[in-house]
């Protein structure tokens, strides 16, 4: 495989993982919740795409976004709001349980087999640029990620609500004392994270065309782990960690020798454990503690 091609592939997978990690990292900032169940938001939004694609792309994408946002907000309202005062470890167990629960719900509703639909199949082709055969989807993913990152950056740094989100992430208690409405900020953050999950679901569904009950799991596990090694208490840390995770696994897939490539995830996780040993709080950790004070 050509190096330039695998570079673009790695960039696009890194971008995708960065989007997942960004959704997880934003929620972690305000909640101290590392949400395992983020993957089930992706799965839900992907099912929505598959089932509504025959209604036309605009309607389908809209429904999918709606499903993502509503699922995320429901998680907060029904489960995580009631656990807000517990430790990050308890929240992690709760989200682990919620992830298991939602997978079983999807199984009961849609069966264990994958459901398929030719979602945006036009994007699955390739184009030749400067002698490189590139997947259109890779380019779209990179562009989409760039736009979303700019949008989230603008929101966080240039709007009043974004300022409140950042304040709540930095010091939740003081932010509340200064008049930041906790419930509203947390719900908004979950909503944004749900929207980001829906975008990820779109890219993944175009790529595979098939959605099963555990569709979002592998992506979420790697991105969550990436966010933690990047430094989950800062948005930039999650983002970079997620990107590195996607980039590394794509590169391992292309360049590891034939007999070893099956052990790719084992290599990735060994790397993760090593990073956590050297920098337990993450590569780009902030000065704040991980536990909520």
């Amino acid at each position: 495989m050509h190096f330039g091609q695998s570079l673009i592939d790695a960039l696009s997978l890194g971008a995708l993982y960065a989007l997942v990690a960004l959704g997880i990292g934003l929620v972690f900032g305000v909640m101290r919740l590392a949400n395992f169940a983020h993957g089930e938001i992706i799965t839900g939004a992907a099912y929505a795409l598959i089932f509504t694609w025959h209604l036309g792309p605009v309607v389908s994408v809209f429904v999918s976004l709606l499903v993502g946002v509503v699922l995320a907000i429901l998680m907060e309202l029904l489960v995580f709001r009631r656990l807000r005062t517990t430790t990050p470890a308890t929240l992690l167990i709760a989200s682990f349980g919620l992830s298991f629960l939602l997978q079983r719900v999807y199984e009961a509703l849609f069966g264990t087999n994958v459901r398929t639909a030719p979602v945006a199949s036009g994007l699955a082709g390739t184009v030749t640029v400067l002698g490189l055969r590139l997947q259109i989807l890779s380019l779209v993913t990179i562009a989409l990620t760039a736009v979303l990152l700019l949008a989230v950056h603008y929101f966080l740094t240039r709007t009043n609500l974004g300022l409140q989100v950042r304040a709540a992430s930095t010091d939740f208690r003081t932010a509340r004392l200064l008049g930041v409405r906790a419930d509203r900020v947390i719900m908004l953050t979950f909503g944004i994270s749900g929207g980001l999950a829906a975008v990820v679901a779109f890219v993944m569904t175009v790529q595979t065309g098939a959605v099963g009950p555990t569709f979002g799991v592998p992506l979420t596990v790697l991105a969550l782990v990436g966010a933690v090694i990047g430094g989950i208490d800062r948005v930039i840390g999650s983002l970079v960690g997620g990107f590195l995770m996607g980039f590394a696994s794509s590169f391992f897939s292309s360049w590891l020798p034939e007999g070893i490539v099956r052990f790719r995830d084992a290599f990735v996780f060994l790397l993760v454990i090593l990073v956590l040993l050297v920098k337990p709080a993450g590569l780009l950790a902030g000065s704040g503690t991980v536990e909520r004070t």
Binding site: A34, V79, R82, L83, T86, T87, P88, A89, T90, L92, I93, A94, F96, G97, L98, F100, L101, R104, V105, E107, A108, V221, L224, V225, V228, I232, R262, F263, D265, A266, F269, L270, V272, I273, L276, L277, P280, A281, V290, E291
Partner: protein
């Protein structure tokens, strides 16, 4: 830090000082202490007797419940004492099951099923007590080998790193055909050497091991680090060493659990030892209460009873003129919801993290 203030017995029951109670009445305090061992063991024994008397599917579920109990007690030894979360203990269960399967499957069958095995693994054959001992050793050894790395982490990072361990071990067992079946296939033909009456003895043995450990000095010091991770090292406690000890013992017990699982299920496959089993063990501990042995025992009992009840309802139950039944997929959904509701309603579990208290004393005091 209440644990450190009781040099006389060093025992606390749900945070209350047993030493003081001894001053009031020595024999009843000793009884109360022994009761924290005898009570859970008795319950496990009686539960197994009931399950075996009912027989049929209930006896089978009872066998699986005993296996879950061993793994849950194993995880409790570490997580309950240290307060550090682990998503990785099923990795030890997996290697234990692997070891047990490789040692007990008939060599001729094994060579046909697992053609890529290392030759020493292909020829080896051992009776079940030896296989169980090896499963325990392998689990404990793996835990001891990774502990120095993992034990420096806390909270979320510990959760992620132990989850990483589960993924690595899972992938190695799935794809390394020199130590098992080819990519993700199953090891079949594990002999049924462990009927209910042997399983229950092993389970009670594990309860005794856990009880003895909980009363050892190292466990007391580790509980102090759980209560205050800043003050305990300040008092001269080496956190890492005591965590490594707990992790190794708990890995060994989970390895033993893996051996029991192999003998009970009789088919061993790497996909069994993943997120699903991790979920079950963690849910059992959360339900019962992570911080006590009694919590692990009661959690297993309640969880298994609920699971059996749901299986029973799936088949349909006739109540007068009505047939009550739940749809196929409802069982795991209800189980999943149980964990989340338990976390919301009783975050410290049914036992509140306390050991079983001796009931008679309470009556005496009232009278």
């Amino acid at each position: 830090m209440s644990e450190l203030k009781t040099p006389a017995t060093g025992l606390t029951v749900g945070g209350r000082d047993l030493g003081r109670r001894r001053g009031r009445s020595g024999s009843s305090a000793r009884l109360a202490t022994m009761w924290t061992l005898i009570g859970p063991a008795l319950l496990v024994y009686l539960g197994t007797v009931v399950a075996s008397q009912i027989g049929g599917p209930v006896a089978v579920q009872g066998a699986y419940a005993l296996v879950s109990l061993v793994a849950a007690v194993g995880l409790q030894i570490f997580t309950g004492t240290s307060g550090v979360l682990s998503f990785g203990h099923i990795a030890f269960t997996a290697v234990g099951a692997w070891a047990y399967g490789l040692l007990t499957i008939d060599p001729t069958l094994k060579k046909a099923l697992l053609p890529d095995l290392f030759s020493f693994l292909a020829d080896v054959h051992a009776p079940w007590p030896v296989a169980l001992a090896v499963a325990t050793t392998v689990g404990g050894f793996l835990a001891f080998a990774v502990a120095p790395f993992l034990m420096r982490l806390n909270g979320l990072q510990a959760g992620i790193a132990t989850f990483g361990l589960l993924m690595v071990v899972g992938q190695v067992l799935t794809y390394w055909s020199s130590i098992g079946p080819r990519s993700g296939q199953a090891m079949v033909g594990v002999p049924a050497d462990l009927p209910l009456e042997r399983l229950v003895l092993v389970a009670i043995g594990v309860i005794i091991v856990s009880w003895v450990y909980q009363h050892a000095r190292t466990a007391r010091l580790l509980r102090a680090t759980r209560e205050d991770l800043t003050a305990a090292p300040g008092s001269g406690i080496n956190v890492t060493i005591h965590r490594v000890i707990a992790f190794t013992i708990s890995g060994a017990v989970c390895g033993l659990g893996g051996g029991l699982w192999a003998a009970t299920n009789r088919v061993v496959q790497s996909s069994h030892f993943g997120v699903g089993m991790t979920f079950t063990i963690i849910a059992i501990l959360v339900l019962g209460g992570t911080r006590s042995l009694w919590g692990a025992v009661l959690g297993t009992l309640v969880w298994s009873a609920l699971d059996s009840l749901l299986v029973y309802l799936q088949g349909g139950v006739t109540l007068g003129d009505y047939v009550v039944s739940i749809p196929e997929g409802a069982r795991p959904i209800i189980l999943g919801a149980t964990l989340i509701v338990a976390l919301m309603v009783r975050p410290d579990g049914l036992t509140g993290g306390r050991e079983l208290t001796w009931p008679v004393q309470r009556w005496r005091r009232r009278g």
